[in-house]
Amino acid sequence: MAFDALQDIGDDALMVLYSNGDLAAARSLAFRHTPRLVAQANRLLRDPAEAEDVAQEAMLRLWKIAPDWRQGEAKVSTWLYRVVANLCTDRLRRRRGTGLDSIAEPEDDAPSVEAAMLSDDRTRALYTALDELPERQRIAVTLRHIDELPNPEIAEVMGLSVEAVESLTARGKRNLAAILGGRKQELGLE
């Protein structure tokens, strides 16, 4: 089936098509979900290469589960978010067990600092502040305010109640505001 013809087909149907040997369906699923997975992983890991590895691993798990996928039970996007969140959490925990020297430096500084736009500074400051949050607050805030997922979907991704997610995001935002409070002028927020 032509790739273009699959644009309007739902994820569940694409999973069935792929399971029956339609590679165009896999291509459609990959182009539909991979950009968000890479972005989600990069926000959590702050390492573009590692984020792509995580996205590839998550999609591989999707291909493997396709023959057993139950129609209408979970959304493919939610399932993938959950896999990425778990893979990133595992990697972040392993990182904490390694020395600081082995952690890649964040991509910034160097030649283009002067040309960096204000939004670059804001994003860097935000990520630095996010790194200071407890793990679950960071994931909840990232999914809610950057990936813009609704609370029920975040609850499903994180295996929590909606109320717990609301509490996590509220506390996360308060903590972010406290951390960023001292840098408002520098970031053009005053």
Binding site: E52, A66, L176
Partner: protein
Amino acid sequence: MTQKRGNELDRELDLMFQAARDQAQPPSDRLMQAILRDAADAMPARAVSVRPAAASGWFRGALNGIGGWQSIAALAVSACFGIWIGYAAPEAADLFDGSFSLTGDVLSVDNTFYSDIDDLLTEG
């Protein structure tokens, strides 16, 4: 005052979240090719049918209520066994009608034993 401060805080954080959204990098071509290669490698060899979400309905509900397919199988085996008992080896009942005896010289059971007791019971 507190409300105004809260709104200002939300606006500032929203600006930062927006900046983060705008900076998302698209996945590399290398990644997309690797993902599609994985998809080809992991493709199931056999065709699969649609798997609906957990089946529900009166029949499945009733079946689960009596213990599922295992209970149905056990019931069928019991029924067959009962039918077999009904048709096979009626001589086994001879044990209880007084006509059965074990090696004549040592021990014997016959109708006289039972009739004696009957006499005692009826004659008081």
